[in-house]
Homo-oligomer: 341 residues x 2
């Protein structure tokens, strides 16, 4: 069995390195073809391995890549290119660039992870701004790809159009959606609705050989009317964070309602199995991280608050993105779809 | 008892005039001090009154204002100023301008209702763009005012700052929140995060004698960390529509889980009372409509898909907004807060 080599930014995330090392252990136990390149301060990592049950993997399925510094939330995204070239995040991306790893996983500073992936691993031809894609589970039980959720702010129309193209290739080639229906996120379905930028992005997408269906609205993220919704990373990020918090608040409210009285508590026992299954679908930790589309390799970027389970699933997402040849497929797809200069 | 006179755009909304007339009946039955000015084609309205049990109110608590045309979703928002001056929406706003009504309620084209309210009723001094405010029920059981959710797109920094100011006055004076904490919606809490416009809006708000707390993130809409969150109407509209659809999908998923087996069905009976209460909080029909802040009068704008219950509650919201002297309070508050030219 050929191994899949993933570089893990051990120091990225609110609960790192505990959560990342525990997640690494779970991933190594789950997937025998996984090899992990752990990026962080080598001496510190070496000392931590036994505590997380990882020392047995060293030399066979774990390699250590020395990175003395860490990108913090106070750093600018571009710090990985300048003052923090020796950070765990940059070193992990570098491993992909040099062909030592197939993909990189980071739960650190999203902006910095996007810069490291775009600039160090490099963008595909025809892509100005790689986009972070989130696969939303919709009401009809099918996926909707929302792209960009990675805070690419002040996007121009062509950036949003490229997000639409990459999302369409991802939906078709990776998620198996035939002829995916693409929309541009706006404030009304009519062509006249939206900002100058969204209207121009829609006009660009309309000229391409895509199943472009015009403007999508906020509700379309969840109702299954579109397979791909392209948007500026500002609104995508706000919607994603707001949705996570709303779902969390609703789940908390329901838990409270289920324990509000003795009768409710009894009923809760009976409805628990069905609800548990449903609640799991709403839990971002199940997805682990989001693929950055449009780069020459694999990069999965996770939540800062990721726990071990989320880290494990993020590593799994990177493995699937590599095995699914997402980068190659987007490269081929975008070559056929993007307007020629 | 002094009466409260509300002009109702009978023809506005997806289910008008059935839903608006049924809602009018419910409102008249609920609030004895309410007088309704029904705006629409007079002959048609007169013929419809008996079917909705309204004929007994005519001449006492119902007046008819003739408006032969209707603003449709295909019209531009500005149609109320030009080709559709005789529309039910414009005639309703005109009644407020002329002092014949204390407030207007419309479930029609949101953009057109905002134009009619801003231009016909008129803006308060110091307000460039009135903002549609949504009071979100947050996790801590306190309200968070999100403004603007009314699709004011391509806002400049001073517009967003004014939304923050109006939201703060509304939270303090109407919702009774002492010294409300105000934020600007962005993609990270650090000052450097966001677009040029959001960073400038934050800089403007920082100079005012307000409890301004910097950037809010998507999650802050639901977690109760801010009392007021100001944003461009594009992102506000997308978040609002997305949240409604997500909440709807979660409620539907939970209903399904509660009927997935005989055991679950039995349990569902026991947990129903607690859940019902909670689900009600998520139902936009309970709120009926949103107040447009920054105009010289009262305007409540509801959902296009409003049913009779939502229309009734929208009329109730307009009555409370009038009785709460919201417009006067915002006018006084904004005079003390806005920077002088």
């Amino acid at each position: 069995m050929a191994s899949v080599r993933i570089a893990l930014d051990v120091m990225g995330g609110d609960h790192a390195p505990q959560s990342t090392l525990d997640g690494a252990k779970q991933a190594l136990d789950s997937w025998p073809d996984l090899v992990l390149l752990l990026c962080g301060d080598e001496a510190r990592l070496k000392a931590l391995l036994p505590k997380h049950g990882l020392e047995g993997f060293l030399g066979s399925r774990i390699e250590l890549l020395h990175a003395p510094t860490v990108v913090t939330m106070e750093d600018k995204g571009t710090a990985v290119l300048k003052e923090k070239k020796d950070s765990s995040m940059r070193v992990a991306a570098q491993a992909v660039r040099e062909g030592r790893a197939h993909g990189v996983v980071s739960m650190g500073h999203t902006g910095a992870a996007m810069v490291a992936s775009s600039m160090v691993i490099g963008r595909l031809e025809g892509v100005d701004r790689p986009g972070l894609a989130c696969v939303m589970p919709n009401k009809q039980g099918r996926p909707t790809v929302l792209i960009d959720v990675g805070s690419n702010v002040d996007c121009r129309a062509e950036h949003i159009a490229q997000f639409g193209v990459m999302g369409a290739v991802y939906a078709e080639q990776v998620l198996g959606v035939p002829n995916p229906k693409v929309g541009v996120l706006s404030v009304g379905e009519e062509e006249t609705k939206g900002t100058e930028v969204t209207r121009e992005a829609a006009a660009l997408l309309r000229t391409l050989p895509l199943n472009f269906a015009g403007n999508a609205e906020g509700r379309d993220i969840w109702n299954g009317n579109f397979d791909v919704i392209a948007c500026d990373g500002f609104v995508g990020n706000v919607v994603l964070k707001s949705s996570e918090a709303l779902a969390g608040a609703i789940v908390a409210g329901i838990r409270e309602a289920l324990t509000s009285s003795m009768t409710a508590k009894l009923g809760a026992l009976l409805v628990k199995p069905g609800l548990k299954n449903f609640f799991r679908k709403l839990d971002y930790r199940e997805y682990g991280g989001l693929p950055l589309l449009g780069i020459k390799g694999v990069s999965v970027i996770g939540h800062g608050s990721s726990d071990a389970k989320a880290v494990k699933n993020g590593i799994g997402a990177a493995m699937r993105t590599f095995e699914g040849k997402v980068s190659e497929r987007i490269s081929a797809g975008i070559a056929g779809l993007l307007p020629k200069d």
